[in-house]
C-alpha cells in the first residue's frame, strides 16, 4: 500500500498539500486526519468529501508526524496520512452516541465491524469528553469477542476540556466514535501499550462511584481527597488530573491508570476517562521523572523484535506524557520512527485503546500506544 503524509497549520495548507501529493496521479481512498480544534474541521471534511475519500479523523491535544521529510510535534496544527488501501479490504463507520451509553455504542459499532469482516482489526477514535473509553471497549468486545484486535484513542481539544470531536468524510460528532476496520487476512495489525507510571502511597478504596464518576474515596469526598493529597489548587483541576491518575489494582502485578478528565465541584466528584468501579483498590500515581522514556524505548525495542515490518505506524500517546516530558516527548516518538523508518502519525489523546502483543484489548490512560500496519 502507498502512504503519503503531511502536516500543516492551516486549512489552506491542508488543501495545497493534498493537491500537491496527488498531482502525480496518486489516488488515496482513505485519509487519517488528526487535527487541533482550532482549525475549521468542517472545511476539511467538505474538501475530503469532494475527493471521495473515507476519513478516519479526530481532534487532538497536540499532533505529530515523523517521516523522511522531518519530525513535527505541533499544537494547533493538523497531520494527515493518505493511503490507497485495497478496495474491499477495509470499511469505515461513524457512530453517533447520543441517547446511548458508551457500552451500547460499543455494541452497535462492534456488531457493524463483525458484519463487515469475519476477523477484523479495528482502529477506533471516540469523543474524549463524552465517551467512557472502558465501556466502549467492553461493548465492542461483548459482540466481537475478548480477543478482537483493536487500537485507538480518545479525541482531545488542546486541553480546553470543552468539546472533543471525531469525524469521517460524512460528518463530525462530539459524542460518537469512528471505526476503520481492516481485513486481517490482508493486513497485519499489531501494537503495544506502555505507560511507565508508578504507584505512590497507601492503598485506598473507592467507596462510592457510578461508571466513570467517583464520589467518595475511603468515605471522603473524592475531590477533597484528591486536592488534599496532591496539594493542588482548585483552579489547577482538571488539567493536573491528567498527569496524576489513579492507579487501579487488578490481579497483581496488573493495573490500569485512570486520569481525571473533569470535576463536579457541586458533588465534589471526580470524572475519570474510564470506569472506576466501586470497591476498587486504588493508589495515586506519578511519572517517575524522565525514566519513563527509557521504559518506553525498552518496550518499543521489544515490540520491534516481535514485529519488525511495517508500512505505517500510528501512535496514540496520552497528553499526560506530553505534559510530563515536555520537549523530551520527542525522544520516545523518535525511538519508534528510527526503528522502523516508516511514516509515524499520531496525536496526544485523552485515553488510549490497544492490545499488548497477543493480550486482549483494554482501555488505558497515560500510555504510549503504538500500532503498526503492514499489508501482507
Amino acid at each position: 500500500m502507498q502512504v503519503k503524509t503531511f502536516s500543516t497549520n492551516t486549512v489552506r495548507g491542508f488543501r495545497q498539500n493534498w493537491d500537491q501529493d496527488t498531482a502525480d496521479g496518486f489516488r488515496p481512498n482513505v485519509a487519517i486526519v488528526f487535527s487541533s480544534v482550532e482549525l475549521d474541521l468542517t472545511e476539511v471534511i467538505a474538501f475530503l468529501g469532494q475527493k471521495g475519500v473515507r476519513v478516519f479523523g479526530s481532534s487532538s491535544c497536540g499532533e505529530f508526524l515523523y517521516n523522511s521529510e522531518g519530525k513535527v510535534i505541533s499544537e494547533g496544527g493538523l497531520v494527515c496520512c493518505m493511503m490507497d488501501l485495497i478496495p474491499g479490504s477495509f470499511d469505515l463507520g461513524l457512530f453517533n452516541g447520543i441517547g446511548a451509553t458508551s457500552f451500547e455504542l460499543g455494541k452497535r459499532a462492534g456488531n457493524w465491524a463483525i458484519k463487515v469482516f469475519k476477523d477484523p482489526a479495528i482502529l477506533v477514535v471516540a469523543s474524549g469528553l463524552t465517551i467512557d473509553g472502558e465501556q466502549l471497549v467492553r461493548g465492542i468486545q461483548d459482540v466481537a469477542g475478548q480477543d478482537i484486535t483493536m487500537f485507538g484513542g480518545l479525541s482531545g481539544d488542546d486541553a480546553h476540556f470543552k468539546e472533543t470531536i471525531v469525524f469521517s468524510e460524512a460528518s463530525a460528532e462530539s459524542n460518537g466514535a469512528v471505526l476503520l476496520v481492516l481485513d486481517k487476512s490482508v493486513y497485519d495489525v499489531n501494537g503495544i501499550a506502555t505507560s511507565g507510571w508508578v504507584s505512590i502511597g497507601a492503598d485506598k478504596i473507592i467507596t462510592s462511584s457510578e461508571g466513570n464518576i467517583v464520589y467518595t474515596i475511603d468515605h471522603e469526598p473524592a475531590l477533597d481527597v484528591y486536592k488534599q493529597y496532591l496539594d493542588v489548587r482548585d483552579e489547577d483541576l482538571p488539567q493536573i488530573g491528567i498527569e496524576y491518575p489513579l492507579l487501579i489494582r487488578k490481579k497483581d502485578p496488573d493495573f490500569v491508570l485512570r486520569a481525571v478528565l473533569n470535576v463536579d465541584r457541586e458533588k465534589k466528584a471526580l470524572i475519570f476517562a474510564g470506569t472506576v468501579p466501586e470497591g476498587a483498590v486504588v493508589t495515586f500515581s506519578s511519572s517517575p521523572g524522565f525514566e519513563i522514556i527509557e521504559h518506553t524505548k525498552k518496550k518499543v525495542n521489544e515490540f520491534y523484535e516481535f514485529s519488525s515490518r511495517s508500512d505505517l505506524l500510528i501512535l496514540f500517546s496520552c497528553m499526560a506524557r506530553h505534559s510530563a516530558l515536555g520537549p523530551a516527548i520527542s525522544e520516545e516518538i523518535d525511538e519508534a520512527w528510527t526503528k522502523w523508518n516508516k511514516p509515524l502519525i499520531g496525536f496526544f489523546t485523552y485515553g488510549e485503546i490497544g492490545n499488548n502483543y497477543k493480550n486482549s484489548c483494554d482501555f488505558y490512560n497515560q500510555t504510549f500506544t503504538l500500532v503498526s500496519i503492514k499489508q501482507k
Binding site: A202, Y229, Y244, S286, P327, A328
Partner: protein, 591 residues
C-alpha cells in the same frame, strides 16, 4: 553540555578572522541549536521538578500519615486477633508448608502443656509423643497440595498420658499472590462425643440383634404352628369325607373356619417377619390378570353370598391382560382388601374395579379399587390404617376378628413393588381401598403353563408311593390323601428307614418331610439322586415342609427334588404338586 561549551569556547578562541568564522559558522550554529534544545529540556525538567516538588511532598506527607494510620490499625487488629485466638474455645494452630507449627493459640499450648513459643518450628510428632498417624500427615499435605479445605478430620492423640479424640478442620492459607504458604487448623476435643457414639452404636447393635431375634422367634413359632395346623385341617378333611349329621357338619365347618383363620394369622406373621427382616423377595413372572381375579372371586364369592352381599369384578377394557410381576403378592393384596370388605360389610355389595392409569412402551400403571358399602372408617382413624398392629378402636370393629397386620403388609408389599396404597371412606356409608402398581407387559406365550390349572380327578391305581414323615398325624393325612388318589403307600418315620425301603422296593413317587430324625429330607433326596446316577431313572420326589419362606424352593430343587408342598395342605394341593413333579421328572429322564 560542558563538553559542547568547552569545544565551542576553544573553537571561537581559535578563530582569527571573519573568513575562518564563516567557515565554522554552520557547525557552531548546530552546536548552539543542540545546546538550545538541551537547555529547553533541562529548563522544562527544572520547572516540572519545581512544580512537582509540592505535589510529591504533599503526597509523601499524606502517605506517611496514611502508613501511620495503617500501622496503628494493624496493631489494633493484631491485638484483636490475639485476643480472639486466646479466648476461642478451640485449639487453633497455623503451620508452614513443611507442616511445622508457626503459631498456636493459648488453648492449644495448654492442651499439650508446652509454652506456645516453644511449639513454633516443631512438628506434630515433636509435640504429641507416641504419635504415629501417617494418615493425618497425608490429609494435611493434601490441603497444602490441593488448596482445598478438609473438614472433620478425626484422630486419637495422646497427651499428658491420656488418650483423647480430636476433630479438626483444616484450610490452606494463601498470600497476596494467591500462593499457598501454609495451613490453619481448628480442633475440638470430641472424646465425650466419641464415647457417647460408641455407647449409641452398642445400643443400636443390641436393638438390631433383639429385632432379629424377635423376627427369628416369630418365624420359628409360625413354623411350629404349621405342623399341628396341618393335622387339624387334614384330619378335618378326612372327617368331612365321613358320614356326618347336620350339627356335626356345622361343628366341622367351625373347626375348618377357625383353622383357616389361624393359618391366615400365621401366614401374616411369616410375611411380616420376612418384610421386617428385609428377606421378602418378589417372584416376578408372566401371568394373566383375569386368572388372579378369578382366584380371588372363587375364594371370596362364597363368603359374600353367605352374607347376601353382591360381589362383582370389573376390569376396564383397556387394562392389559398379560402382565409380568409377582402375581401371588398381587393376589394376596386383593384378597386381603376384599376379605376386609366382606368382613366389614353387612349389606350392599363389594366391587373390585381395575383401571389403567398410564401405559408407556412396555410398562403399565394399574389402579385397583375395592369398594364396599360397609361401616366405613372414622376420619380420625384414617391415618392409622396402614400402621402395624393398629386396629380401629370402635365398637363395631371389635366385633370383627383380625390381627391388624393385613393392611400394613399390603402397604409394605405395594411399597416393595413400587406402588402406592390408600383409602377413601365415608363413615357409616362405606370405604374404597385402592392401590396402584406398575407392571411390565408380557406376551401371552410367556405365561407359565403349570400355574393356576385347576386340578382334575386322577387315578394313580397300581402306583406305589414312599412317604417319610415323622409326625404321626401328618403320616395319617398324607397316606389318606394318597390312597384316595389310588396310590399304594409305604410309610416310614425317618430318612434312614426311607432310604432302606427305597433300596428294597420299586416306587413311583417319593414324598419326604424335610425335618426328620437321623437323615433329613434333603439328605435322602441327594442319596436317591446319587443312586440314580448313570441310569436313565429319575423318580419324582416331593418335599413336604412346614417352611413357607421364599428361597426354600431353591433349596429343595438344589437337593434334586422335583416339587414341594407346604403344610398345611389340602388333597388338591398335594395332587397338583404330584402332577407338577411328575412332569418335571419326565423332562429330566434321559431316554
Amino acid at each position: 553540555m560542558p563538553v559542547i561549551f568547552q569545544s565551542l569556547i576553544d573553537e571561537l578562541q581559535n578563530i582569527k578572522s571573519s573568513e575562518e568564522f564563516a567557515g565554522s559558522r554552520e557547525r557552531i550554529m548546530e552546536d548552539l541549536l543542540r545546546m538550545k534544545t538541551e537547555h529547553e529540556k533541562l529548563n522544562f525538567r527544572y520547572e516540572r521538578l519545581n512544580k512537582e516538588k509540592n505535589i510529591l511532598s504533599s503526597l509523601l506527607t499524606r502517605t506517611s500519615a496514611d502508613l501511620k494510620k495503617v500501622s496503628e490499625n494493624l496493631k489494633i487488629r493484631a491485638e484483636e486477633l490475639s485476643a480472639i485466638l486466646a479466648t476461642i474455645p478451640a485449639y487453633v494452630f497455623f503451620k508452614d508448608r513443611n507442616l511445622n507449627y508457626l503459631l498456636v493459640n493459648k488453648g492449644f499450648a495448654e492442651l499439650v502443656g508446652i509454652p506456645a513459643e516453644q511449639i513454633k518450628g516443631r512438628s506434630v510428632k515433636d509435640i504429641f509423643l507416641n504419635y504415629n498417624s501417617s494418615d493425618y500427615f497425608v490429609t494435611e499435605q493434601r490441603v497444602i497440595d490441593s488448596g482445598t479445605a478438609m473438614y472433620n478430620v478425626e484422630e486419637e492423640v495422646e497427651y499428658n498420658g491420656r488418650l483423647r479424640w480430636v476433630n479438626t478442620n483444616l484450610a490452606p492459607i494463601r498470600n497476596a499472590a494467591n500462593e499457598i504458604i501454609g495451613l490453619i487448623g481448628i480442633s475440638w476435643d470430641i472424646t465425650e462425643r466419641k464415647h457417647f457414639e460408641s455407647d449409641l452404636m452398642h445400643s443400636k447393635e443390641l436393638a438390631e440383634a433383639g429385632t432379629m431375634a424377635k423376627n427369628e422367634f416369630i418365624a420359628s413359632i409360625s413354623h411350629e404352628f404349621r405342623t399341628p395346623m396341618n393335622g387339624i385341617i387334614g384330619l378335618a378333611e378326612i372327617l368331612k369325607n365321613t358320614v356326618l349329621d347336620e350339627a356335626q357338619d356345622d361343628l366341622l365347618k367351625g373347626i375348618v373356619s377357625s383353622a383357616e383363620n389361624l393359618l391366615a394369622l400365621v401366614n401374616d406373621l411369616l410375611d411380616f417377619s420376612a418384610i421386617e427382616a428385609g428377606k421378602m423377595e418378589l417372584d416376578f413372572h408372566p401371568f394373566m390378570l383375569d386368572r388372579v381375579l378369578e382366584d380371588v372371586f372363587q375364594v371370596l364369592n362364597l363368603k359374600a353370598r353367605e352374607k347376601s352381599l353382591g360381589f362383582s369384578v370389573i376390569i376396564n377394557e383397556d387394562v392389559p391382560k398379560h402382565l409380568f410381576g409377582d402375581s401371588q403378592r398381587l393376589r394376596q393384596i386383593i384378597l386381603n382388601l376384599t376379605n376386609n370388605a366382606v368382613k366389614f360389610t353387612e349389606q350392599g355389595e363389594i366391587e373390585i374395579h381395575i383401571r389403567l392409569l398410564n401405559q408407556a412402551m412396555d410398562r403399565a400403571l394399574l389402579r385397583f379399587e375395592v369398594k364396599d358399602t360397609g361401616i366405613g372408617i372414622p376420619p380420625e382413624a384414617m391415618n392409622l390404617l396402614f400402621k402395624v398392629f393398629s386396629r380401629i378402636k370402635q365398637k363395631q370393629h371389635y366385633l370383627i376378628s383380625g390381627t391388624g397386620l393385613g393392611l400394613s403388609i399390603c402397604k409394605k408389599l405395594t411399597d416393595l413393588m413400587g406402588g402406592d396404597i390408600g383409602v377413601e371412606s365415608v363413615y357409616g356409608k362405606g370405604s374404597t381401598f385402592w392401590f396402584t402398581l406398575p407392571f411390565e407387559l408380557s406376551g401371552p406365550r410367556l405365561e407359565n403353563p403349570y400355574k393356576n390349572q385347576p386340578a382334575v380327578e386322577v387315578n394313580y391305581s397300581g402306583k406305589k408311593a414312599l412317604v417319610a414323615e415323622d409326625n404321626l398325624i401328618n403320616q395319617k393325612i398324607v397316606s389318606f390323601q394318597l390312597r384316595r388318589m389310588g396310590f399304594e403307600v409305604e410309610l416310614t418315620d425317618n430318612g434312614q428307614a426311607a432310604l432302606e425301603k427305597f433300596a428294597s422296593m420299586d416306587f413311583d413317587l417319593v414324598i419326604l418331610d424335610i425335618q426328620m430324625p437321623i437323615l433329613d429330607g434333603y439328605q435322602v433326596a441327594k442319596a436317591i439322586r446319587q443312586q440314580e446316577k448313570g441310569t436313565s431313572a429319575h423318580l419324582p420326589i416331593i418335599a413336604l415342609t412346614a417352611n413357607a419362606m421364599k428361597g426354600d424352593r431353591e433349596l429343595y430343587l438344589e437337593a434334586g427334588m422335583d416339587g414341594y408342598v407346604s403344610k398345611p395342605f389340602t388333597s388338591e394341593m398335594l395332587q397338583q404338586a404330584i402332577e407338577f413333579a411328575n412332569k418335571a421328572a419326565a423332562r429330566k429322564i434321559t431316554p
